[in-house]
Amino acid sequence: MTDTVLVVAESRAGHLADATREAIGVARALAAGGAVEAVALGREGTALVNELAQLGVARTFLAADPAWDEVGASAAAVAVAAAADRSGASLVVVGGTSGGRDLVGRLAVRWNAAAATGVTAAERADGGLRVRRPIFGGRATETRRLEGGRGVLSLRPHAFPVPPDAPVPAHAEPLAVEVPPAWRAAKRTGVRAAGPSSGPGLTDAAIVVSGGRGVRAPENFALIEALAAALGAAVGASRAVTDAGWRPTSFQVGQTGRAVSPQLYIAVGISGAIQHLVGMVSSRVIVAINSDASAPIFKVADYGIVGDLFQIVPALTAEVRKARGLA
């Protein structure tokens, strides 16, 4: 077994998916001088070879049969296992996509490897691999050791940076592997493209953006909603806002409103009175934006911006849209 690391390449609109770029960054770090290779399937695979080479992928195995585009994501594990055997890799890395997540278990069994999903850190350690990953909804983190010489990792989305270019000559190699017959009887009958989010419910949302008295007038609440839309977040409000009738009481986060514990809570123009805190203080990450540096909200927040929300929030919305690749 060499230190070759194999990356599963996925495409988005004909280009290399950001998740795969992140996976290549991880692969390069773990290859520690060894080669980084990739496997790509289906019609769009060939188009990725040059982008992969740009990031340092020395060899891309192509299973170009369009039938690979028609089978379930997990079936790809069959092709990846074949590529891993051909490349002599000891580690397979796949980015934080739903397709990537689906193939890890099947690949680990088929290729006889240890596995971990949704990792936020990975390093070689004592002949094995050490990974970190969030558990219990992010309330704790586990570190695990993968043993046995072979590993399969999927990454947590957006947990790793996109690596800088490290161009090498592009080199594609056809991979002759058949779509497993058992999968051919399943048929995809349609796809409904992911449209703009209509907004998740407040208590289930992974991200919540809330506005408070600092927003000053009901029409200004549109700023909060624009930021929430950019993040795919739910919108909440402090009691001052709902009491004033700027938004219905169903938006209220706090003692007499909803209790939320999302992954990310952004409090805009909210001072942080205990009345509000009890409704959101168990959020995993709290960001506060307020013009008053002594506002109590900064005591419970993880990140704070003291400033004029009418300048900060639009700038943040624009930055978020840019970072997420939204129009």
Binding site: A185, T189, F298, K299
Partner: protein, 259 residues
Amino acid sequence: MEIVVCVKPVPEAETRLRPAAGGATLDPEAVKFVLAGYDESAVEQALLLREAVPDTKVHVVAYGPAPRTEEVLRAALALGCDRATWVEAPAQTTGDPLEAARALAAAIAGAPHDLVLCGKQAGDDEAGLVPSALGELLGVPDFELVVDLRWRAADGRFTFERTGDAGAEQWECPTPVVIGLQQAWNDPRTAKLPNILKSRKAPIAKVTAALAADAPKSRPEKFELPPPRTGAKMIEYKTPEEAAAKLVKLLREEAKVFP
């Protein structure tokens, strides 16, 4: 139709998490293990299919140590599953989902299984590995992140929707198949008191897991809680755009909560 539902005993949501002595795993002392949300959805899905499809039985299976695994199986029986199998694990398992998949597959392979249903992921480790590993071990296709699973009796196929990267995919497939559900979109029923009392006396088949000693493993090394909140990291900036860029970078790379 024979439906197998795989469930796992996990700490209940309100548990105060604490590392065990040695710091490698969760301290199970005073932890209440329950049938958690995603698994409740899977059981509910199985029971809904049983109500819709004549001659259907629901067999619930779990891998884990005593006594928590038996309790969770009784909870599933109280909800209405027809029979239960406990694949017994040693008291100190590695927590490796592939170990669980192998143990479950060995128990399922010997029993009828047209549909093997799993929740989205375990309520504790949230790995989501088991359904696709089961697919490989049982030699059947698998689909994950599934909603709206229905049976089309006319041609004996399942139809469902799957949350793919490009959007919501509509699929249909024959049996046998392994399905991992998306997070709860059905409303799990609550077990009624008389059924809870009945489930206490219901028989549970028990088998011991035959774990291959040389299978690749993952082992727990550390169980850590986040450091307590010490006040916000204040972002310095000259322009609002700079503040925004810094915040997004921190959320992405440090906090790892950016969507």
